[in-house]
Amino acid sequence: MRLIQGHGRYASDWNMAGQLFAAVLRSPHAAARIVRIDTAAALNAPGVRAVLTHADAEQAGFKSIVGGVALKDRNGQPMKKPHYPVLAKDQVAYVGQAVAFVVAESATAAQDATELIEVEYEEQPAVVEFADAVAPGAPRVHQDIEGNVAYVHEHGDAAAVEAAFARAHRTTRLKVDSQRLVCNPMEPRACLAAFDAATGRYTLHAPSQGLIGARTHIEQITGLPAKDVDLIVEDVGGSFGIRGTPYPEYFMAMLAARTLGKPVKWVGSRSDTFLSDYHGRALALCGEVALDETGRFLAFRWTDEINLGAYAGPFGAFIGTQNVSITSHGVYAVPAVYVRSTLAYTNTTPISAYRGAGRPDIAYAIERLVDQAAFEHGFDPLELRRRNFITPAQMPFKTATGPTYDSGDFPAVMEHALKASDWAGFPARRKESEARGRLRGIGLASYLEAAGAGTFNKDQTAARVGDDGRITIFCMAGGSGQGHETTFVGVFADELGVEQGVIEYRASDLAAADLIGNGTGGSRTAAGQGSAFKALARALIEKARPLASALLGGEADYADGRFSAGGKSVGLIDLARKMARGADGRHPLDCEAEASSPATFPNGCHVAEVEIDPDTGVTDIIRYTSIDDLGNVLQPMLVEGQVHGGVAQGWGQVFGEHAVYDRESGQFLTASFMDYAMPRADWLKGTFTRESHPVPTATNLMGAKGVGESGCSGSLPALMNALMSAVRPLGVKDLQMPVTPVVMWRTLNQTARKAA
């Protein structure tokens, strides 16, 4: 309600008395040695209070920005992670890397002063593409990492896959790019930091996906104990993975606030977002499938190229390793799978998790590969899928790569999608398009997701009861439009059988409830925190039961929000109101609970139908159908919104979005909304049909599987398969994202010229 009236409080909406303002000087070079930084002129500029550089960060004891979990390859070699300083030290390794942090009495004074900082750079050759980075003799992004290779990840049984290919009747190979994207939440990053010298505590307002993870990173990087940092987050204007961990500006604002004794506010621009928010995707996946004579899959082999950017971002390495492996089977029974990913550094902005973080990419690669195999070997693409689906009878299904899929009915989900999309009626619609001179295509994708990954193996929740009987519930997940309040209050109130109006939800309030739990990410909160709130409701009932029994004079039963015994009854909220607080200030019904929820496997089948104008190369999406098994759906409207958004981010990647770097200079060429094609309202011309096909999981209390990232996993392959279906009859062999109008137009013309 507050958000539609302009009363939200996003990071840049916070202000404090006496606050100062900060601006960041960023590197204009992709690769350069820093010879000298002279801040004297900037320091003397009117209103400037401080100009901080690496020397200040180092003096404050700041360590490297955290580069994700420790990985060791099959030979025991750890991933090579360069030191990633909060402000650049003796080198810059990408355009936009933070070099200096200016604090002044106004935002304009700070911005003006950045231009007075003299940095002497000695430019070095840059590499921005994976292939260039791993080529013999390539310039090194970091002097101590020869060949720029950070890590080689292997997963699965290489020998079994080799053997399967040796006896295969047919094979197909297809390499697909999942191009580098800028995640672009609509809220540019911002922060406000204050230091209280009397208590030694910091207050920090900054966008975040979860308190505990953010504070842990702050502690690891700044050395400040997490408990001394009050991270206060109310509204977050979109996260999508890249707001999961803190950024350099936040540490520098904290340091400046302590040094100067005043709150320090930094508000990033969209340019800051483009240059310095972690980027997404940036990988290429080369898939091979071995088939027997009947079209049964014998093996998948994946050879992946992962462009990490200049440093190891917090989730950067996770994408091309764990996340492309866990669902590398897709929805198919494949006896042998082997994944080999090479992760390389380049002179580009570091990557991190963006909506699915590798899982949409592998889903895309699998479903393109299956279509390609069907085309090359003369199978009907639906029939080839039917022949290879894991069936409900095979559940739980232990995959060759490790994970066990607990539930799902992939054949039925596909049949549902075929019906909902009127797949059978396509030839007539194609004819109708052809009569108008348009190319029409239809494409399908049966995707599988793995949701529920978290840093902690459990999520805790707490209930605090007010004197008026109202209950406030708490957890540690930070929202950014998912509708946590609606979902969690709904789960808790429904389990208790009370009106939702007596329940209030508060996220990440450690002062009220000292909990641990995962942040929002990996499509996990419905299953994770949802289960923990269900458990919390049950704990509250059990805590109240003896009190109710005493009051009613007999063993009390609970139903629909009331305890009853021997013909007498009392409502839970009334009971809560009657209870006096203990000496410690706690209400007798205050309670805590926790739940563990392992990975779930959301899946679905998306069907896209497109029409191309061959004269302009413009593609319209005529129909889009998404049938998803997300397990139990808690809030249909919110879930539908999540699917729409995920699918639209897929459209963005398919038709326009692309972070382009100049191959020579390493300059970032598409670093504004003028140059980077974001999906707009007119991208979907036709109808969007969405239906659920729930096959609930038994692995968490909610039976939910997670929704946040499924839209991307379904839409990338469905749309690209639709485009291929439209242009294959003309002899087009391949398309790679983004298929902008000019790419489509050129492809059609080149193919026609070759055929002529």
Binding site: M1, L3, I4, Q5, G6, H7, G8, R9, Y10, S12, D13, N15, A107, T108, N184, P185, M186, E187, P188, D235, V236, G237, G238, S239, F240, V267, S269, R270, S271, S480, G481, Q482, G483, M637, L638, E640, G641, H644, G645, G646, V647, A648, Q649, W651, S672, F673, M674, M678, P679, R680, A681, D682, W683, L684, F688, G711
Partner: protein, 155 residues
């Protein structure tokens, strides 16, 4: 510095502004009306859309000095006391927002669309929203909201 005076959400205000101060910065930083958001620096995203003398404008694309004498309505001034504007009501009913950051601009732009055309087709709606970006909703429910608002405004 230039002295300017204008009306915002029915209130008379005056201010000394630097020549380079953008209208959106004056609204947010000085008047503390933080419902109008800044989502970009190239006038592409529309998060800062306000109503100025009856027209919907991007307040990041105007200097504060140009607002002298103007009558401005921001998202905070759209509701009539406790009664939401039909467009606000429709966005709530149709789940036309997720993170909410683009929402004030989307709502102001939608008010403008419906003012010019109380009965817009889907095509007219998406054309009208061309200057506003949303990263969460895929626009599906935003379009639904505008249609719903058109219905609400008829009764």
């Amino acid at each position: 510095m230039t002295k300017i005076a204008f009306t915002i959400n029915g209130k008379q205000v005056s201010s000394d502004v630097e020549g380079r101060t953008l209208l959106v910065d004056l609204i947010r930083d000085e008047l503390k009306l933080t419902g109008t958001h800044v989502g970009c620096d190239t006038s592409q995203c529309g998060c800062c859309t306000i109503q100025l003398d009856g027209d919907m404008v991007k307040s990041c694309a105007m200097l504060a000095a140009q607002a002298d004498g103007a009558n401005i309505v921001t998202i905070e001034g759209l509701a009539d006391g406790d009664k939401l504007h039909a467009v606000q009501q429709a966005f709530t009913e149709c789940h036309g927002l997720q993170c909410g950051f683009c929402t004030p601009g989307m709502i102001m732009a939608s008010v403008g669309i419906l003012k010019a055309n109380p009965n817009p087709s889907d095509e007219e709606i998406v054309k009208g929203l061309e200057g506003n970006l949303c990263r969460c909703t895929g626009y599906v429910n935003i379009i639904k909201s505008v249609k719903r608002a058109a219905e609400l405004m008829k009764v």
